[in-house]
């Protein structure tokens, strides 16, 4: 298996990667599939899964108050308005909006649930035991380690994705972006911003 994040985050060294590879080898040896077939499936799977999708949702919410309200009320329906229905068909999307005095951050303590279709492949750290156990306990310290030093007056809401609901953080629109169009705004939004481990 050679998914894009393997190279980016060196997942080859994780025990789970070795287990997955062993399983793949057994299936290939049994004549049930091939490396080529697995790679093709993964390529197709990742083709429509990108943080560009989440960024588009955020850019629209920044520029259209009606859309923002609908997004916060029913994330899946709002995503479908932007043609992202197929990407959100297998979960309920719940968008949570940051404010200057309230910051949201997403974690999955039980495993690594995450809206892959809207955020792209999940980063290695998102699946790490340290992130999963510490974020619910000391989020301010964890965010500081990401370089996000929140003012003491900003409170933090952590969302633990234990069910079939998937979360998307809507960052605060940066100052000085008034003249920018949708695409330029979307380009400002990072995957970490959509998880809540970056400001934008």
């Amino acid at each position: 298996m050679t998914g894009p994040e393997e190279h980016e985050h060196h997942h080859e060294s994780l025990p789970v990667a070795a287990r997955v590879r062993r399983l793949e080898e057994r299936l290939i040896a049994a004549g049930l599939t091939s490396d080529e077939e697995i790679d093709e499936l993964l390529t197709r799977f990742y083709a429509d899964a990108s943080p560009v999708n989440g960024a588009r949702i955020v850019a629209r919410a920044w520029t259209d108050d009606g859309f923002r309200d609908r997004l916060l009320a029913d994330g899946s329906a709002a995503a479908a308005e932007l043609g992202l229905g197929p990407q959100t068909s297998d979960f309920q999307l719940r968008a949570v909006a940051n404010r200057p005095d309230r910051h949201n951050v997403i974690v999955c303590t039980l495993c690594s649930c995450y809206p892959l279709s809207l955020l792209g492949p999940s980063p290695g750290w998102y699946k790490s035991l340290a992130y999963r156990s510490r974020t619910v306990r000391e989020p301010r310290a964890v965010l500081a380690e990401f370089g996000l030093d929140l003012p003491a007056a900003t409170s933090i809401d952590v969302w633990d994705s234990t069910s079939e609901v998937r979360y998307l953080v809507v960052p605060v629109r940066p100052d000085g972006t008034d003249g920018l169009g949708q695409e330029e705004l979307a380009a400002l939004v990072t995957r970490n911003g959509l998880i809540g481990t970056a400001a934008v």
Binding site: Q92, R94, T109, L110, V136, R137, E138, P139, R140, S155, I156, D157, V158, W159, D160, S161, T162, S163, E164, V165
Partner: protein, 89 residues
Amino acid sequence: MRFPPGTRVRARATDPDHHTRLPRYLRGQVGEVVTAAAPQALPDDVARERPAPRVETVYAVRFRGADLWGSGSHTVTVDLWESYLEAAP
């Protein structure tokens, strides 16, 4: 909906010997219902391959970090199936 938003609920202090999506760090803790999601099949039943898994309302329940850990000004909101919860006084 058994627990409308604003209801105080306690996560059950059970320790089942089967799969569950009730995280251990919440068991016995009291929080407040923030919102509810569309009903979902109960993972405990699905994992045990029950022929007709229960389908329950899933509540987003907000806990105070200080209640869970003894310190912290943050909140932790967790999606919990209805049978994981009981009304708290």
